[in-house]
Each structure stands twice: as structure tokens, then as C-alpha cells.
Symmetry: C2
Subunit: 202 residues, 2 copies
DNA sequence: CCGCCGTTTGGACGAATGTCAAGATTTTCT
DNA sequence: AGAAAATCTTGACATTCGTCCAAACGGCGG
């Protein structure tokens, strides 16, 4: 038998997922509680039964987004045996993620930008950023090892550079620039060797 | 004597500048026409005398922001005579821009993100992005020349990487991370050599 | 002084927003 | 089955939003 609190949490998740779809469609600035409710089979009043206010709802959404995110990027490093194969696999993986769910990534950048204005989002956004940074660093480290070299940058530096490529690719992809994804893949592949240097003492 | 249209344009500029301050304070999502009017000595109704609607006002603001932006970054490349001096000068310049007006740069990222949702902003944002990309490319090219090398990446790639560093630095700076600016300067200095390789044929 | 015209005000409008509470409905427990 | 607790709907509230407009202001030529 299901526990009460579990059911409550389940419904919260369900509502948050619907909210994420609405947010991905419209962006933070244009998404109201009523539009969120229209993405569910419930009425708008229910949202205040499960969430204290809008900020708590959005915050919960961000956390939920994070779970999906880290889960998605969990595997992926393992299967390459040469540096360039790893770089290519990473490039393909990131490009696929971008192509598969561009609106979700757009939402991510929207929320991250909002966190620069709304203190309330900052902690959760920072946590997600950390997760992404670790994901990138795993790839860079693995690349360096396969190449018999060492990373010559910090994890946050590496993440910032990858993220710059990703964000630009998203922007161009949404503007229907056809080369956006190919350029991105190439950019990622070429970025790896820039971030390592031959190990000083082998 | 002043032309009529000049006076009209002047007031538009004045209102747009006030709007930019309001936008920098609150962000796109939270800035209403009435809050903008509060940043001026006029009443809210006036805004519709000088701008057809909110979108036209914001668009005009973005354009105005761009003018200030490109004007700011116009000079700066000239004065270095070694590669590392140029990299350091560029790093200091970018870091100073970030430190001087973090809220304006925050606004820029906000508007650029909005342009992923609002078609209306896309063209102007893209134009600004181009200007910034050219600014970065001038630096990379100059660095390569001083180093007797050649850039091994495209202009847009270079811009994406620098922009990634900048955006992360801004985020950390606004979260009052003390090392944000120093890390950024170092990141920029180290980025230059990553983007060039020895010229194949001297 | 009048009347013109560009400018500015302040209030009004309907629509949309976040929030709330009272009641209807469904589920759960005894 | 019936009571109690939960879930959900509905309508209302005070605000705020973008937009519009009638009226007032102000300088200037007649």
C-alpha cells in the first residue's frame, strides 16, 4: 500500500513536470500559474494545495529538472578507447541532447539567468551547475588520461568553455541556423585537445 | 535651431536610457512600463507617445545598449607588443567591464535569453552578438600575429569560448564569489594560447 | 491676446496575475 | 455504510499589467 506522503510527492512531481513543459514552451517571464494548470488535467487552484506559492513551485521544478539532467548525463564516458573517440562521443552526446530537447535547454538558460535576479533560485541553480561541471570534468579527465596528458585548466574553467559552445549552438539552432549542430560538434571535439598538455613527467 | 525630429529622437533616447536602468535593476521579467516611468521625471502615459508598445521600447533599448557596447570596446587592441601583454590587457579590459557594470551585463544575458523566446528581439540581439564576436576576433587575431602564429578556430567559436568564461564570471561575481574576477582574468589569459597554433609556413 | 501644435498628464479600461477560501468531490478508515 | 480526511473545483479578491484617451500644459507665430 502507498504511503500518504508518497502520493503527495507523486502529485507534486506530476504537477512540476507539467509546469516544466509550460515553462519550456513560454519561458519564465510568460508562464503563469493558470497556463501551468492548463498543461495538467487539474484546475489552477490545485497548485496552491501542493505548493505554497509560485516561487516554491518554480524552485521545485528546477530541482526536478536537475534530477532528470544528472540522470541523463550519468553514463557516457566509459565506452571510448582513444582520445578522439572520446571527444567525438562527448560531442555527439551533447549535440544529441541539444537536438532532442532544445526547449528544455533553453529553459535551463532562462532559469539560470533568472537566478541572477532572484536570490531564491540561486542555490538550486548553482547545484545544477555543479553537476554539469562534474560531468564535463569527467570527460576532460578521461580524455587527458587516454591521451597520456594532464588537464591544464580548472574544472570550472572547462565547464565555462563547454557551456559557451553549448549556449551559442542552442541560440543558433533555435534561429534555425543549419550548421549550428555540426559546428558545435566540431567545436567540442577541438576543445578537448586545447585543455590538456603532455604530462610533464611520464 | 534644433530640428523637431532631433528633439523627438533625443527624448526617445532619454526614455530608453532610463528604461535600461530599470531593466538592469529588475530584469526583463519584472520590469513594467510603470516602473520604467518611475525612473524618469515623466508619467507612464508618455511612454506610449514615444513608443508604439512595450516591444518597440525594449527593442529600442537593446539597440541603444548596443551602441554603448560597441563604442566601449572600440579601442583596446592597439597598445600591446607581446602576446602575453595583449592577453593580459584583454583580460583586464573584460574584467574591468564586468566589474564596472555587472548589472548591465546581467541585463545583456537576460535579453539574449529572452530573444530565444521572443522572435522580435532576435535580429537585434544577433547584431550585438556579431559586434562582440568581431571584438573578440580582433583580439585573437592580434594575439596570433604577435605570437607569430595563426588562429586555429573560427571567430564564432572563439567568441563562444570567451563568452562562456565571461558569463560564468558574471554569475560568480553576482553570487559574491571573491575569486570570480581573478579566475576570469586568468582564464582569459590562458585562453588565448589555446586558440592559436604555430604558423605552418613562415 | 488668441489659436495652434507638439507635449505631457492622469485616469480609465479590460485583461491577466497570484492568492485565497468555501464548498463539492473523492478517497480512506472504522 | 457512514464518518473523517484528503483532494479538487470554483469563484472571488486585490493588484498589476499594457493600452488608450480626453484633457491640460506650454511655447510660438499670428
Amino acid at each position: 500500500m502507498r504511503r500518504r506522503v508518497d502520493k503527495f510527492e507523486d502529485r507534486r512531481r506530476e504537477l512540476a513536470d507539467a509546469a516544466l513543459l509550460a515553462l519550456a514552451d513560454l519561458g519564465y517571464a510568460r508562464t503563469s500559474l493558470r497556463t501551468i494548470a492548463e498543461h495538467t488535467k487539474f484546475s489552477h487552484g490545485l497548485l496552491h494545495y501542493y505548493f505554497a506559492d509560485k516561487v516554491e513551485l518554480i524552485t521545485y521544478c528546477v530541482r526536478r529538472y536537475k534530477e532528470a539532467c544528472v540522470q541523463r548525463y550519468e553514463g557516457g564516458v566509459g565506452a571510448a578507447d582513444t582520445p578522439s573517440a572520446l571527444a567525438a562521443a562527448c560531442a555527439d552526446g551533447l549535440a544529441a541532447a541539444l537536438e532532442e530537447a532544445p526547449l528544455m535547454h533553453r529553459l535551463w538558460y532562462d532559469l539560470r539567468t533568472q537566478s541572477m535576479f532572484e536570490e531564491a533560485f540561486r542555490a538550486d541553480v548553482a547545484e545544477i551547475d555543479e553537476g554539469l561541471q562534474e560531468m564535463i570534468w569527467r570527460n576532460v579527465s578521461a580524455y587527458a588520461e587516454l591521451a597520456g596528458a594532464e588537464p591544464n585548466c580548472s574544472p570550472s574553467e572547462a565547464y565555462a568553455l563547454f557551456d559557451g559552445l553549448f549556449q551559442q549552438a542552442l541560440l543558433r539552432h533555435l534561429s534555425e541556423t543549419p550548421e549550428a549542430l555540426d559546428d558545435f560538434r566540431r567545436g567540442v571535439r577541438e576543445l578537448f585537445p586545447r585543455l590538456v598538455s603532455r604530462a610533464s613527467a611520464g
